[in-house]
Amino acid sequence: MNFFDMVFTGQNLALLGAVLAVMLAGIGSAKGVSMVGEAASGLLTEDPSKFGKVLILQALPGTQGIYGLITAFLIVFKIGLLGEPAALTVSQGVYFLMAALPIAIVGYFSAIKQAKVAASGVNLIAKRPDEVGKAITASALVETYAIFAVLISLLLVLFAKV
């Protein structure tokens, strides 16, 4: 058994998928939340009473990281890492890797793009505090695509035959 075969086992490929989902979506969310946080601090120095409103905006790009986490957990359950590990063929492993890609990649980019909208929403709240609903909605529209991605990732993992 050469090195290549030892590393790229079905089990490890599936694990790679789980790890990518949680990593990429997590990095995206971390970047996103920090971007909105910076914009929010700018506003809060002027008016600390708006904390509640901007907190919601700041939390919005955080969901992609959670979606990545859920996908990763489901894969880990499915391949039995917490109990008796299932023997996976390489092609089964690749299946899980593929299943993780939608939320890994879409999660990463949508979190950052969503954060940009949310950060400009913070500016909107600075000038018009009553329009918080519109700022949230505008930002939530971006999240739609992360939701679609996690939906496909979850369905693929749930329907996987192990």
Partner: protein, 684 residues
């Protein structure tokens, strides 16, 4: 479920009654004022208005109270209220029973204490810096005004820190001078210097080269030690005085309740003065222009008839920016703020709150179907409303989430979710039984063992996706039905038939394809043809009409993408369920041992609380989005400005209406229509 009809109110009143009339109307919360500039296209003469001095006087009083309140609040032993509770008071009684004067005394004393505290703190700083400058010379025994004898000059001073003894000795060599080191620290070397008066200048020059400075000590007949002790005593005295002031503030903070009432009372006066600025005035009388909902007309007339005034009600004209007041039933009115976050409907159009609230209830529960989370959400919200007496806007906010929690419970029973899959995890890991022993509640025959009355979405996501899309289809069809209703009300039933019903035929056909092919095909063809024939009817020329007809078919894609958007119900539902599962696995990991149960309690509480918070936010945002984008898009005419009537300040208190004062009912002033607090939710 309607937008309330408004009328323009004009009142002409004697100048001396202006204050009382504004106050009475304010208490009714039923009239909003229009500025002179907004009336008759700005032709009204706005130069005639009341003097501004009373506004600035009232503002000054309010600012004094505002300065005192945070100071007292910080020291008050009273618990901080989470949802902005209000107390109910009678301003009249407050003014007459002495509390008014007490409150003002407290405010004035607080402000005086604050000023005094500032001054004392400055003195404290001063004393401290003095003590620091005395400290290095504490070993000096001579009184400070001692300057030596006839022949010898005695000086005290400091050299820069780190100056070595040898360098000083070298500098003084050959001079009739001697020195002694008093004290050394990082900042300097402190010395006494004795020098023959004849060589004083030379010596000082030599030392100046090393950076010598004379000590900054007062020339008094006292030792440094004594001076230091005196300053220290002064320091302690100031500190004691500060403590006394602090204690006094704590005593004063017992009267915080009265000061808060005073704050609202004076702020109301400020609001009255500001409102009076919006009146047009002459030397003898004022003219008030405002909006009044017809539902409150009688009460307004009742108040006005007590004065010697002329008034008139008039229907709004073309182009008037009529403010919007919504009227809904006890359940739906709690959802008005969700509508308000989007936009208020235009005056005279359809108020979708009722329909929206029903679908909001349905979709929220479906998206976050869980008995445990629903129970917690409802319990927290209803308990807060019941015991914390939140103000109207916050109350509706809480009630809405309370109702949504009920929806979560109902759907949680259907889909067998109790804090995720906690029953299963508890059975397997703590009780050591198999999943087979769980009660089988499903009414569907082929379901696996679980506590769901229908099925478990995680085991059967496709079925849940179908339900999500089904609810979505219902929502969209409802939106179209509302549009059809609006068109019919506007007297355009044919438009409703061509723009709405034709699509319904097509939808029905597409659906029937799965059930009965022939019926489905005929309905689909019929729907397509009717759309192609009718959608180009407004275009000119036969070619454009045909093109328009086929473009109408393109709308089908919009409907399809709207429908698919509802798949988020499944995605968010799965997200909540899977996180719940993870928490349960971690919580029940250690089985039934003592440590295991302890771990379970901690992980269960923290984990599920976190999941609850994350998902309430997500579900709220995405349920709202489905209303705003997918539903409102079909029919909504937004663009109204909400009705904000003149109202007394109610930051801390709710004023008792005079009638209620007499009947001694301890109830909050009921707003005239229940709808007047225009739904400003406060997240803070």
């Amino acid at each position: 479920m309607s937008v309330i009809t408004m009328e323009k109110l004009t009142v002409i009143a004697p100048l001396e009654d202006a204050d009382a009339i504004v106050r009475r109307l304010m208490r009714l919360r039923a009239v909003s004022l229009r500025k002179g500039a907004e009336i008759d296209g700005g032709s009204a003469d706005t130069s005639l208005s009341l003097p501004k001095s009373s506004v600035s006087e009232a503002a000054e009083r309010v600012s004094r109270i505002d300065a005192a309140i945070p100071v007292l609040t910080r020291r008050s032993k009273r618990k901080k209220s989470l949802f902005g509770s209000q107390t109910t008071v009678s301003f009249e009684a407050f003014r007459t029973d002495g509390r008014f004067d007490t409150a003002w005394k407290v405010v004035d004393e607080t402000n005086k204490i604050l000023a005094k505290k500032e001054e004392l703190k400055r003195c404290l700083e001063e004393a401290l810096s003095k003590m620091r400058s005395y400290e290095p010379y504490l070993n000096l025994d001579f009184p400070l005004d001692f300057e030596g004898t006839e022949t010898v000059k005695y000086t005290v001073g400091a050299l820069p820190g780190g100056t070595r003894r040898e360098r000083v000795e070298a500098a003084l060599s050959g001079l009739a001078a001697g020195f002694d080191v008093l004290h050394t620290d990082g900042a300097g070397v402190y010395i006494t210097l004795i020098v023959h008066r004849a060589e004083e200048e030379e010596t000082l020059r030599a030392l100046a080269g090393l950076g010598f400075i004379k000590a900054p000590l007062p020339s008094e007949h006292k030792s440094v030690k004594r001076l230091f002790d005196e300053t220290e005593r002064e320091y302690q005295r100031i500190e004691e005085e500060l403590e006394k002031l602090e204690a006094r503030l704590t005593v004063l903070s017992d009267k915080l309740g009265e000061v808060e009432i005073l704050s609202d009372l004076e702020r109301t006066t400020l609001l009255v003065e500001e409102s009076k600025q919006k009146l047009s005035a002459s030397a003898r009388c004022v003219i008030l222009h405002g909006w009044c909902p017809v539902s409150a007309k009688k009460k307004v007339i009742g108040e006005l008839s007590g004065f010697c005034v002329a008034y008139d009600f008039e229907a709004p004209g073309e182009g008037d920016d009529v403010p919007i007041l919504l009227k809904n039933n006890g359940f739906s009115k709690n959802f008005e703020w969700v509508l308000g976050m989007y936009a208020y409907p235009k005056y005279g159009t359809f108020d979708p709150t009722l329909v929206m609230s029903l679908f909001y209830f349905l979709i929220f529960g479906l998206m976050f179907a869980d008995v445990g989370y629903g129970l917690v959400l409802s319990a927290v919200c209803f308990a807060a409303v019941r015991w914390l007496h939140p103000r109207e806007g916050m109350k509706r906010f809480l009630l809405m989430f309370g109702y949504c929690g009920i929806s979560c419970i109902l759907f949680g029973v259907l889909f067998g979710s109790y804090f995720g899959n906690f029953p299963l995890a508890f059975m397997e890991n703590v009780l050591g039984k198999t999943a087979e022993e769980l009660p089988r509640l499903s009414i569907l025959p082929a379901e696996a063992a679980n506590v769901a009355v229908l099925f478990d979405p995680i085991q059967n996501p496709m079925a849940f996706l179908l339900i999500s899309l089904g609810v979505g289809a219902l929502h969209l069809v409802m939106g179209m039905a509302v549009k059809a209703f609006i068109l019919c009300r506007e007297g355009k039933p044919l438009d409703a038939l061509f723009d709405i019903v034709t699509y319904w035929v097509l939808f029905a056909g597409l659906l029937m394809l799965f059930i009965s092919r022939t019926v489905g095909i005929w309905l689909t063809v019929g729907g397509v043809l009717s759309i192609v024939f009718t959608q180009g009817r407004r275009k000119k020329g036969i070619a454009m009409k045909i093109a328009g007809g086929f473009l109408g078919l393109y709308d089908l894609i919009n409907y399809a993408s709207d429908l698919l958007s509802y798949s988020r119900i499944l995605a968010l539902g799965l997200a909540a369920g899977v996180i719940g599962q993870v928490v349960n696995i971690l919580a029940t990991m250690k089985g039934a041992s003592f440590i295991g149960i302890l771990l379970m309690l901690v992980v269960f509480t923290v984990g599920h609380l976190l999941n609850l918070v994350i998902n309430v936010l997500g579900t709220f945002v995405h349920t709202s989005r489905l209303q705003y984008i997918e539903f409102f898009n079909k029919f909504y005419e937004e663009g109204g400005t909400p009705f904000r009537p003149m109202a007394p300040a109610d930051r801390y208190t709710a004023e008792l209406a005079p009638s209620e004062e007499k009947s001694k009912k301890n109830k909050k002033t009921d707003p005239v229509m229940g709808d007047n607090e225009q739904l400003q939710i406060k997240f803070d």
